[in-house]
């Protein structure tokens, strides 16, 4: 019978919490920057300008058709050869942004394409400026339509960030691995990690639900 011993976990809880904090920071920043990349990518993909579309197409296809592990290795171990040397945590952030940006681009593109042409023409008929049309007639309804898929992609991003320990970034998964290497209480540690990741994901879901209520609800239901 396996004897559970949570003493090593409790004694080093501060290490795990420190790791979890980095995971939260890393994920939040990657989500925000990733959203910007996604919107730019989606605009490029739906724009009439051919070269811009090609660049966005290549970016999306390359990232979506290669493993995240390879991407993060390339950024951390490969870029120094080109003179760009990033610290593990920064390299992890860049890799996550690049990765989530590609998936987000496709998600937001489908949102934009779900807006009927007539709606844009209606906006023009009302005398809205192109910026106003882009913001109120295209982006907000588009984001409202794809909000669930975008946010689940973001949750997935947070879970994917557990891979960044391979380049020695010190996130939650790395803190757990270090701790289990020292105490050999692997099962207890991974059980606690599972719970912590679950709580983090739950927290992000709640946050996204709140953002949806504030920014993407229909005016009528406010």
């Amino acid at each position: 019978m396996y004897q559970f011993n949570f003493q090593p976990v409790l004694a080093n809880l501060d290490l795990l919490i420190h790791g979890a904090w980095l995971t939260v920071k890393l994920s939040l920043m990657a989500m925000m920057l990733g959203l910007i990349v996604s919107v730019l990518g989606a605009v490029a993909k739906t724009s009439g300008i051919r070269p811009l579309r090609w660049v966005a197409d290549i970016y999306v296809e390359v990232i979506r058709n290669t493993p995240f592990l390879v991407q993060i290795f390339f950024i951390f171990f490969g870029l120094p050869a080109a003179g760009i040397s990033l610290s593990p945590n920064v390299a992890a952030l860049v890799a996550l942004v690049v990765n989530v940006g590609a998936y987000g681009t496709e998600i937001i593109r489908t949102g934009i394409e779900s807006i009927p042409r007539g709606q844009v023409e209606a906006g023009r008929a009302l005398g809205l400026s192109p910026v106003q049309i882009f913001r109120y007639v295209i982006m907000v309804p588009a984001l409202r339509n794809i909000y669930p898929s975008l946010t689940s992609q973001f949750i997935y991003l947070m879970l994917t960030s557990s891979v960044v320990s391979v380049i020695s970034a010190n996130d939650l998964a790395a803190a757990g691995a270090d701790l289990s290497a020292r105490t050999f209480a692997n099962f207890e540690i991974y059980l606690v990690l599972t719970i912590m990741y679950f709580l983090l994901a739950l927290g992000f879901s709640t946050l996204f639900a709140g953002i949806r209520r504030i920014f993407f609800s229909y005016p009528a239901s406010r």
């Binding site: 951390f76 171990f77 490969g78 120094p80 040397s85 391979v166 380049i167 691995a177 290497a181």
Partner: protein, 265 residues
Amino acid sequence: MKLNRRTFAVLAAGALAMGMGLSASAADLETIKRAGAIRIGMLVDFPPFGVQDVSGKPDGYDADVAKALGEFLGVQAQIVPVTGPNRIPYLLSGQVDVLVASLGITAERAEKVSFSKPYAGISIAIYGDSGLEVKDAAGLAGQSVAVARASTQDTGVTEVAPQGTDIRRFDDDASAVQALMSGQVKLIGLSNVVFSQLTGVAGDRFDKKFDLSSQVQGIAVAPGSDALLEQINAFVEQAKSDGTLDQIHEKWLGEPLPDFVKNAQ
């Protein structure tokens, strides 16, 4: 088939060792000389000490030492492949006369077998950019050091590193070496075996800064083989002083026999 034979060999070795007692199978120098051959057990799955060459013959540091030992005794060296767990039963049951099998000298093993003077060793050390000036553990402060997570290096570095050392833990030696080569870290905790492979790729870009820990290996005989052990010790002494071991070490590990092996008693 192979597995069966090996399983049988282990069982037989165990039974023999138990039945005959420890000293019953002591190797006799006269018998070896008369037979004109010495049976030498070595590992073939422990590069670069014990490997198999392309034709499946045992090769590596231990194989070269075994051949040199045969020459020294004036008899033919018959190499018998053994495995880590069964090497001592092989010796104690008399299936081999001597082990040149990267057997680390420990007090526990010395109760079962007789060790010669050390002929090889594995050390763990801090290596890094040749230009970097780091002489001891205190010099690690403010530096980044890559190690494989939970390895002996990890334990060693973590133990001696002063405050302000940036220890970067990777999943394995390969990733840690990659971090060193791409310039992401300036230092690395590594065994001399892996480092010798690294020098094969990176030349003299990196050098050793200071040792963390070491383990010496000895040639082993069954207890009671005193005449043979005396000859083996004479061989090790001569091979150390005439440069034979330096040459073999240079061939397989890229540097002469390290001082911690030469000076160990």
